[in-house]
């Protein structure tokens, strides 16, 4: 048995051992001639205890109990402290959870280390997808992958309705390679669902879809349903936790090999390609081997992929994120984490001050301990351990907070079920680390400060001098400054984010979407192209033109508030992103975009000869709006400007650096166009007619939606973010106000007597008020100044994607500073005023 084990054994059996020792000593005394010479057995037992080296544990237990009793004695302080810690740590924890689940932790797939996403990379561009034929070639001609997985998304019509659901066409090995079987029924298998399988194609539906749409009915397995007007058999329900590589919310999976069954004339789409590395294959080896495969492919089928293209394998361990994207995400996460840490620091500084206030009141008690021979280190240890129960309660509260916040975020953001936000051991570990950081500020600083005082002197005057000195200490002021700094940073950033959300939500967007409905038909998927596509839309327009509530209609290639982005740039307008799209002449009328100069397109305009540009583009490129008739672009013109339209960021609603370029529709554009219909009344009334008009042509399925729903969906994240950031800002302000309130209260109580003398001698209230609050002025000023600088830096860092903050916004800065100042003044004046109201004579007698 080693010495250490023996000591633990002793600790576990200590009661028995000490009883034996007492018995032994009693026997010893009985044998002695003069038992009084033996000494105090209790002291001997205590000294014997030291021999086993557990004294520190006894002290700690004692201090812990003392701390616990202290908490129970003053529940007000305990609740305040717990709320502060819970909020500070809990907020950080929630953020840590979100970051961990969405980007830091690998998706829960089987062996993420050997699963790679194959990005198609050329000298200039990178694409997440590749032509299906290329993926098949790689599958058949590589030596480094044991399996190739493919997936391509599509929006499909469910059961012949015009209700659109998200589908994924996947290779037959998709489920098996990701390591998941079915919740009910079966998933796809290469044997049953390969290329040569006949009959109606199989479908696997998601657990959510099964629960909500199919009513959770087990007999749904085996049922025949219709997808994009084709029959499919539901063969299985996916497991509720089945993860999605691209964070989608898929309703139904279909076999990619049967794509032609649905769309016989469409040709195969682009697919996302994943690979399972063979045992022992490194990423570099896979890259080189696949480069040879791709070279062979480009020689064999020159039109399919460009020469020099390679496949870049990105591991599942890196969440399938290429290095540059990873860096971007890390920057974003670090930035947010820093802001959250600011909240924690404010909370801790606040609590540290509270603890210091309490210690101030205990100077006499501590003085007695010092007089009895306690060493300074012992006092520090005592004060540290005493705050431990607080830390534990705070950690517990924070985990509960994170758990509740996760539930709230899940329901508010409608996260897919495979993103498991509930706290796990990582969360617990993180919360303990955070609590340690917090407690270092909360407990260590005050303990150190208190122990450095001349506590022996505290016995003489009841600790008043020591208390006063502590109250006036620099640390206390710096803690206040830290709180004010954090508060300013949070409020300014919150203000900037709110301003940005306001810009997004602003109804003066330069266009009107409220009364517009959109009809979309993926004609290309059904093999309708060219003149046939134009006829399809002409037929639709004719059917709708008779209705009195239809005001105007226009086809467009990139519908407003959608996700289709065609971006370009011109050297004549540096720094400006030009979003271009092709539109019907009536587009400007439908979207209520004013034509500032010239006219919209006319039938005579050649599709490649004329353009309409937005105001921003005109000013950036020509410096004037009077550009009708001039060539476009400025240098090396190839088109003629026929009109200048008002600024209308229909696609990137909140972007600050974009302009628009409109071109006439070509014949080929009709196959992937969207029809916008402006109603004279509520467009929801139009939807049944639009559906009917779409259903009249059996060759394709038309889907309808309202632009205002798109708008709500587009702006939901911005609203959510501004609510969260705003709430955090208010929380920080409340914390800081509480801190100032506490400090001034404490000072006011300590100096009650002094104030009484001042008042009795006839000092005006204002002078006394100044006396109490003067000490807080410079910490406040310092806090505001550093807060301003820090916030400006944070704002500058968040100016780009995806935050798009405007870092220089004097209104926001002024408002935040005014708010902090007002809150601080109120928090300082309230306790001071209470003392002032009191009777001066009573104040004099106060001890």
């Amino acid at each position: 048995m080693t010495t250490w084990l023996r000591r633990v054994w002793h600790l576990l059996n200590r009661r028995r051992h000490e009883r034996e020792l007492a018995r032994e000593m009693a026997a010893h005394r009985a044998m002695m001639g003069d038992p009084d010479r033996f000494g105090d057995p209790y002291r001997l037992i205590e000294r014997s205890r030291d021999a086993w080296g557990w004294q520190w544990l006894d002290d700690a237990t004692q201090d812990f109990r003392l701390g616990w009793r202290g908490i129970r004695r003053s529940p007000g302080f305990a609740v305040t402290a717990m709320v502060i810690l819970t909020a500070g740590i809990g907020l950080n924890l929630t953020f840590f959870q979100l970051a961990s689940v969405t980007v830091l932790r690998p998706r829960p797939v089987a062996s993420p280390d050997t699963l790679v996403w194959l990005y198609r990379q050329g000298p200039r561009e990178r694409s997440s997808g590749a032509p299906y034929a290329a993926a098949r070639f790689v599958r058949e001609h590589n030596t480094v992958l044991s399996a190739v997985l493919m997936q391509t998304g599509a929006q499909v019509a469910w059961n012949d309705s015009d209700w659109v659901i998200d589908a994924q066409f996947v290779s037959a090995n998709w489920f098996k390679e990701l390591g998941y079987d079915a919740f009910l029924g079966r998933v796809f298998s290469e044997a049953a669902d390969g290329r040569d399988a006949g009959g109606d194609p199989p479908a696997v539906v998601s657990y959510d879809f099964w629960k909500t749409v199919l009513g959770g009915d087990p007999s749904a397995v085996g049922r025949t349903v219709r997808i994009d007007r084709r029959p499919v058999v539901i063969v299985g329900i996916a497991r509720p936790d089945f993860p999605e590589i691209e964070l989608d919310d898929t309703a139904v999976w279909l076999p990619l090999d049967r794509h032609a069954f649905f769309y016989p004339t469409a040709g195969f789409p682009h697919v996302v390609m994943l690979g399972r590395l063979r045992d022992g294959t490194t990423l570099a080896a896979a890259r080189e081997s696949l480069r040879a495969t791709m070279d062979a492919l480009s020689r064999e089928r020159p039109g399919l992929i460009a020469a020099g293209t390679w496949l870049e394998p990105i591991s599942g361990r890196d969440n399938f994120l290429p290095p540059d994207l990873r860096v971007q995400i890390w920057i974003m996460i670090s930035l947010m984490a820093t802001l959250m840490m600011v909240v924690l620091i404010v909370a801790s500084a606040n609590l540290g001050n509270l603890v210091l206030s309490r210690a101030t009141g205990r100077a006499r008690e501590l003085g007695v301990r010092v007089a009895l021979g306690a060493r300074r280190s012992r006092i520090v240890r005592q004060l540290l351990v005493e705050t431990l129960p607080l830390g534990l309660l705070g950690t517990l509260g924070a985990v509960l907070f994170a758990w509740a916040a996760a539930a709230m975020i899940r329901s508010a953001a409608q996260l897919p079920p495979y993103l498991d936000l509930s706290p796990d051991w990582r969360t617990l570990l993180a919360s303990m680390a955070l609590a340690t950081v917090a407690m270092a500020v909360v407990a260590a600083i005050p303990s150190w400060k208190v122990a450095r005082q001349d506590l022996g002197a505290a016995i003489k005057d009841g600790g008043h001098q020591v208390s006063m000195r502590l109250d006036a200490s620099l640390v206390r002021r710096l803690l206040v400054a830290a709180q004010v700094t954090g508060c300013c940073v949070m409020l300014i950033v919150a203000g900037l984010v709110a301003r940005r959300a306001q810009r997004t939500l602003d109804t003066r967007l330069g266009f009107e979407f409220d009364r517009v409905a959109a009809v979309w038909a993926p004609l290309d998927r059904f093999g309708i192209a060219g003149a046939a596509a134009r006829d399809y839309w002409d037929g639709m327009k004719t059917r709708l033109a008779d209705r009195s509530d239809v005001e105007a209609m226009a086809l467009v290639t990139a519908p407003p508030l959608g996700f289709m982005v065609n971006r370009t740039g011109y050297q004549d307008a540096p720094g400006l992103k030009v979003l271009w799209q092709r539109v019907d002449p009536s587009y400007f009328a439908v979207m209520r975009i004013p034509i500032l100069r010239g006219r919209t397109f006319a039938a005579a305009d050649g599709a490649e000869a004329s353009v309409v540009i937005s105001r921003r583009v005109a000013l950036a490129m020509y410096g004037t709006l009077d550009v009708v008739g001039r060539g476009f672009p400025l240098t090396a013109p190839s088109q003629v400007i026929v009109g200048v339209a008002g600024d209308a960021h229909t696609i990137l609603v909140n972007a600050t650096d974009v302009g628009e370029l409109y071109r006439p529709l070509r014949l080929d554009d009709h196959t992937a166009a969207t029809l916008l219909v402006r109603s004279r009344s509520d467009p929801a009334g139009l939807l049944p007619w639009l559906r009917a008009a779409g259903g009249a042509d059996p060759r394709a399925i038309a889907m309808t939606r309202l632009l205002r729903d798109d708008f709500a969906r587009r702006t939901a994240p911005a609203r959510l973010v501004s609510v969260i950031v705003g709430a955090t800002g208010v929380l920080t302000l409340a914390l800081a106000s509480l801190g100032v309130f506490g400090v001034v209260s404490c000072a006011a109580v300590l100096r009650t007597r002094e104030i009484g003398i001042h008042r009795a001698l006839g000092a005006p209230a204002a002078a006394v008020l100044r006396l109490i609050t003067a000490r807080l002025l410079w910490p406040f000023g310092l806090g505001m100044a550093t807060g301003l600088i820090a916030a400006a830096a944070a704002g500058a860092l968040m100016a780009g994607e995806p935050f798009y903050l405007q870092p220089i916004d004097p209104g926001v800065y002024a408002a935040a500073l005014a708010l902090v100042g007002a809150a601080g003044a109120a928090a300082a004046t309230l306790p001071a005023a209470r003392v002032l109201r009191a009777d001066p004579l009573r104040a004099l007698r106060h001890e």
Binding site: R23, A27, F38
Partner: protein, 99 residues
Amino acid sequence: MLILQVVRQQPLHGYAIAQRIRQLSSDALSVEEGSLYPALQKALAQGWLKAEWTTSESGREVRSYRLTARGLKQLDAERDEYQRRADGIAAILAPVKPS
């Protein structure tokens, strides 16, 4: 060292250890109870001694301490160390021969 040495020959209880030390040193050394018990506990913690309850010659229940193998090693080490020091001190104190 003294405690370890006196229990080397035979297991002894606390009172007997104090007595034996006094006796062997002809009353020159006496061990105070105040230091005896903490020292015994330290020796127990280090594993130099083992304690067990026995009945003494006078019929009293007492706790006897017995030297362990580890304790023996410690004793030897301490004795060597003591010897070295004593030799050193003796060399310094040796009467200086007149030159």
